[in-house]
């Protein structure tokens, strides 16, 4: 599960993957909406890892 934390790094740091204007969405070129879309996606990935881990022992 912890590997999920690496996914945003791959999706955002490999720039040739998203350096395009088309397809655009609501007037946003692909470059912009793709990166904005990663905000909720990485939150979701971190949440999945959070859910799967064993909780801390009570303090």
């Amino acid at each position: 599960m912890w590997m999920l934390l690496l996914v945003p790094f791959i999706g955002l740091l490999w720039v040739p993957f998203y350096n395009f204007t088309e397809p655009s969405l609501f007037g946003f070129p692909f470059f912009y909406w793709y990166q904005l879309a990663w905000v909720p996606i990485s939150s979701l990935l971190v949440w999945l890892v959070y859910r799967s881990r064993t909780p801390d022992e009570a303090p």
Binding site: F9, L13, W14, P16, N19, F28, L36, V46
Partner: protein
């Protein structure tokens, strides 16, 4: 540019400024502990901030006023390349999730207040502790100065001239930080963040509606970049891709090495508070992405500015009624107060724990620590103010850029110790020195541009100098660790991990 005083905007501004001033002084009693009797109280707000307070506090001091001014200014000036702040502030959170709870646990178990405390605890090396502490303080100073620049931009937009308003604002800030400690920015952050959310949500809905939609905004920006000769544009040129990615990665690794962000981490109630925040804080990143687009909206609105930093204030003045512009300017100015306060507290904690306690008065009491830190926070703020008033603005910008590169060099000392005890203090210290030396020299010889060039087999690669310095830093630390291990196999200094 602004000749007459905008009275409506100014009145709104003064109202909100007065409100947060009262809150700042009142904060000493909020969730109150003995503020002057222990550094944990003054410098970390009692180590009790839960998920929501931490969310507002870290959101308030990581996404600074300067960000709101500078990111759209950069996007306005260079297009897609300026957008690297977005991937940077996305990938920082998986990193925070994986690393910062471990840092918190160590700090909590041992009563550590600063990054240098943690390093000293892990390596028992005064040299490494001093290196981390001094780097933190030096990197923070120009960052505080930048907050003043951000505040100055909006004050100027309301027609106030001269340096008196900014001096007055800063003295008020210094006084309530002195009396309330971290509780003041934590409480004010609620007001600041809610105001910024309102401003940005209104702006990203209303502005494109006035300008003909996002399609029109992007195409106006595209036309402007084409007319300028096409060196930059709506997407990255091939030569910009590697700088873009390395700037994003390097900035993300550096972000939570700064004293002000770490103060937010150490002040949280539990490791789980930090994990939840790694999931919730990206809401601010969405906001930042939308703020960045204000730079393009300026083209669609045909704003003329003398310097890119005026893009946001000019856009608001052109498109909004005076009272809302005043609200937006208050949000930005208050947005400068929160990070400036947390930064001065973070730097004061470093000075107190890792300079004063380590070298001047090792037997200092808890109340003594709090007293030293309070004075140090005043000195730090006066220093930043003098910096802005006496030196050219460009110095603050250049130093902040170098500060990012320097603070990144504390990464191995702080983070590696959480996972492995393999590295030796001597190696980490040498790596730190080489990273800072090579990085500063390279940035300096490139006219203070944050990029370095490497030629391999005829191809040349351009990348963020801070990240290059970090790689060099780690390599030197590893080699030196092996060599020191051969010379003296017994680790005299290292303590047993708790």
């Amino acid at each position: 540019m602004a000749d007459q005083i905008e009275w409506v905007a100014l009145s709104v501004f003064i109202f909100f400024f007065a409100l947060v001033t009262v809150m700042g002084f009142f904060a000493a009693r909020w969730k109150s502990g003995p503020v002057s009797e222990h550094l944990d109280e003054w410098g970390l707000g009692g180590r009790q901030f839960g998920t929501w307070i931490t969310w507002f506090l870290v959101g308030g001091d990581f996404y600074t006023a300067y960000t709101v001014i500078a990111v759209p200014a950069l996007v306005y000036a260079v297009g897609a390349y300026g957008f690297f702040a977005l991937p940077y502030t996305i990938i920082v959170y998986p990193f925070v999730f994986a690393v910062m709870p471990m840092l918190w646990k160590q700090a909590h178990a041992n009563g550590h207040v600063t990054a240098a405390d943690v390093v000293q605890g892990n390596y028992n090396s005064r040299g490494l502790e001093l290196a981390v502490a001094v780097t933190g303080m030096v990197a923070t100073m120009p960052y505080i100065a930048l907050q003043l620049i951000g505040m100055g931009v909006v004050i100027k937009a309301m027609g106030l001239t001269g340096e008196l308003p900014i001096v007055a604002a800063f003295i008020i800030l210094a006084l309530y930080t002195y009396s309330s400690g971290l509780r003041a920015p934590a409480l004010i952050a609620f007001v600041k963040d809610i105001m910024i959310y309102i401003v940005v949500l209104v702006a990203v809905v209303v502005v494109p509606a006035k300008l003909g939609g996002y399609g029109a905004v992007f195409s106006a920006a595209n036309d402007a970049f084409t007319a300028k000769g096409g060196a930059t544009g709506l997407i990255l040129k091939p030569a910009q891709m590697l700088p873009y990615a390395t700037l994003a990665l390097g900035s993300a690794l550096a972000a939570f090495m700064y004293p002000h962000t770490l103060t937010g981490i150490f002040a949280s109630k539990s490791a789980d508070t930090i994990r939840k925040n790694a999931i919730l804080l990206p809401a601010y990143t969405l906001l930042l992405g939308l703020i960045a687009l204000l730079g393009y909206m300026a083209y669609a609105a045909h704003i003329k500015v003398s310097t890119p930093n005026d893009v946001v204030p000019m856009l608001f003045k052109a498109l909004f009624p005076s009272w809302f512009a005043g609200f937006a300017f208050s949000a930005i100015a208050i947005g400068a107060l929160v990070p400036a306060a947390v930064m001065s507290i973070g730097a004061a904690n470093l000075f107190t724990r890792n300079i004063w306690k380590s070298y001047v008065n090792p037997g200092i009491s808890h109340a003594g620590e709090a007293a030293v830190a309070k004075i140090a926070s005043l000195v730090v703020k006066v220093g930043a103010l003098a910096f802005i008033l006496l030196l050219p603005t460009q110095y603050a910008l250049d130093l902040q850029l170098l500060g990012g590169l320097w603070i990144l060099q504390t990464f191995p000392a702080l983070v590696f110790g959480l996972f492995t005890r393999w590295f030796r203090a001597e190696g980490l210290l040498l790596g730190w020195a080489v990273g800072i030396g090579w990085g500063s020299w390279t940035a300096w010889s490139n006219g203070l541009k944050p990029l370095a060039t490497l030629d391999i087999g005829g191809a040349s690669y351009v990348f963020y100098v801070g990240l290059g310095a970090l790689v060099l830093n780690i390599a030197v630390a590893a080699v030196a660790t092996v060599i020191v291990g051969l010379i003296s196999p017994n680790r005299t200094g290292a303590t047993v991990r708790s």
